[in-house]
Symmetry: C2
Subunit: 227 residues, 2 copies
C-alpha cells in the first residue's frame, strides 16, 4: 500500500538523466570559460563554516592581480552578497536556488549570462551551505574547494564521503577555536585523506589571518598554471 519502490526508481532514473545533462553542461561551460581565459573556483561547506570570511581574505589578496566576480548561491536572503560586496568591492551576484540545496551548471550559466564575464579573470562561486547535494553537481568549475570548520568536528569526512572525494582542496577553518571543540587536526587530516588521498589540506584561521597566505599562494599558482 505504501510501497515507494516505483517512485524511488523513477526519481533515481530522472536524477541520473539530470546528472548526465548537468555534466555535459558543466563541460561546455568549462570550455567556454577556458577560451575566455577565466578560472572558476567552486567553494562548498556546511552552513556557518566560514566560507564568506575566508573568501573576503582571498579576494582582497588577489583582486589587484585578477579581475574577480563572485556568485553567491543561497536558497533565500542576500546577506553574503552584501558582505562580500561591502568588504571587497568586487562584482557580486546573488543567485537564489528556489529551494534547491545545490547549484546546477545551468544555473551557473544563467547567472554568468546575467552577470557578464568579459571583464573577469577569476570567478568564485560560494555554493549553498550543505555537505551533501552540492557535491553531486559539477558546476563547470576548474576546482572544488571545501571547508570543514573545527567547530563541526574531525569526524565529518566519515559521514559525508562525496563532498571530500570531489574536493581537491580541503580547508580546515576556525583553527583558532580548535582547542575549545577538542578538534584533533591529525585525525581530521587522516579522515580527509581516507576519502581523498590526493586532497591538498590547509589548516587556517580566517579571523586571525593565520595560514591563509599559503592557501592564497596555492590558488594563485593554480590560476597561473591554467593560462
Amino acid at each position: 500500500m505504501f510501497n515507494m519502490s516505483n517512485l524511488d526508481f523513477q526519481i533515481v532514473k530522472v536524477k541520473e538523466d539530470i546528472l548526465i545533462e548537468n555534466d555535459k553542461k558543466a563541460d561546455s561551460l568549462r570550455k567556454f570559460l577556458k577560451e575566455k581565459g577565466i578560472y572558476f573556483i567552486n567553494v562548498m561547506a556546511s552552513p556557518g563554516s566560514g566560507k564568506t570570511t575566508l573568501l573576503t581574505r582571498i579576494i582582497n589578496a588577489l583582486k589587484g592581480k585578477y579581475r574577480i566576480g563572485v556568485l553567491e548561491a543561497d536558497i533565500d536572503g542576500d546577506v553574503d552578497a552584501e558582505r562580500i560586496s561591502k568588504n571587497t568591492g568586487v562584482k557580486v551576484i546573488q543567485v537564489h536556488t528556489s529551494g534547491a540545496c545545490h547549484l546546477t551548471a545551468q544555473m551557473v550559466e544563467d547567472a554568468l549570462k546575467a552577470f557578464g564575464v568579459d571583464d573577469l579573470d577569476l570567478i568564485i562561486l560560494e555554493n549553498v551551505g550543505n555537505l551533501v547535494c552540492p557535491a553531486e553537481f559539477d558546476t563547470g568549475s576548474n576546482i572544488n574547494m571545501m571547508l570543514l570548520s573545527t567547530s563541526e568536528g574531525h569526524d565529518k569526512p566519515l559521514k559525508y564521503p562525496l563532498m571530500f572525494q570531489v574536493s581537491k582542496i580541503a580547508v580546515i577553518s576556525k583553527m583558532d577555536v580548535a582547542p575549545i571543540f577538542d578538534f584533533d587536526l591529525n585525525k581530521a587530516k587522516e579522515n580527509i585523506l581516507y576519502r581523498n588521498p590526493e586532497a591538498k589540506i590547509f589548516a587556517l584561521s580566517s579571523i586571525k589571518n593565520e595560514g591563509v597566505d599559503s592557501l592564497i599562494n596555492y590558488l594563485d599558482s593554480l590560476i597561473q598554471n591554467s593560462k
Copy 2:
C-alpha cells in the same frame, strides 16, 4: 541544446509525487506509533551543530522515566550511534541513507521494523546533518526540533527558510562560545521568529549543561500531554 527544462519539469513532478506518498506514509506511521503510545521526536541541524552531545544529555535525563530508542541517520559511518550507545546505554540503530541527504518516512518505518518498538515509549531520530533536504520530508514524528549553533551565525534563518518553518522547537546550541563568534542572540531569535512566529526557542550549552533543563522539561511535558 543544453536546455534542462523538460528534465527539470520531470524531477519536480516526480518529487511532488514522492512528497505526497511520503506524507501519507508519515501519517500512517504517526497513527501506528500513537496507538502504541510512543512519542517520536525528529532532530535536525547542520553537520557539527552539537546534536549528538545535546541528545546524550536529554536521553540521560529522561531514560529513567521513558524507554528510549534512538535512530541515527547518516550517509555513511556510525560514529554517532557508537557515541550515543556508549554514553547513554539506550537502544540505538544506525540508518544509512545510500547517499541521500534526508530520511523518508518509509526509511524510518523500515528501520523501526528492524529495531522493534514494542519495548519503547520514546523514539528520537537524529536526522542527516543538513539544513535543507530533511526539512522537506515528514518523518512521521510528533515534533521537529532543530539546532542552530552559535558558530554558524545568527543569519541562518534568513538563508534556510523551510528548516525553521517546519521546526516547532529551535535550539540555539553552543551558547558558551557565542562571544567568540559575535553571535547576536536577539538577532537570532528575531530571525527564527520571522520564519516561524510559533517557534519555541531554547538557548543553551550542552557542554556546560546550561539551559538544557528547561528544554528537557518542555520535551517531558510534550510527551506527557500526548498520552
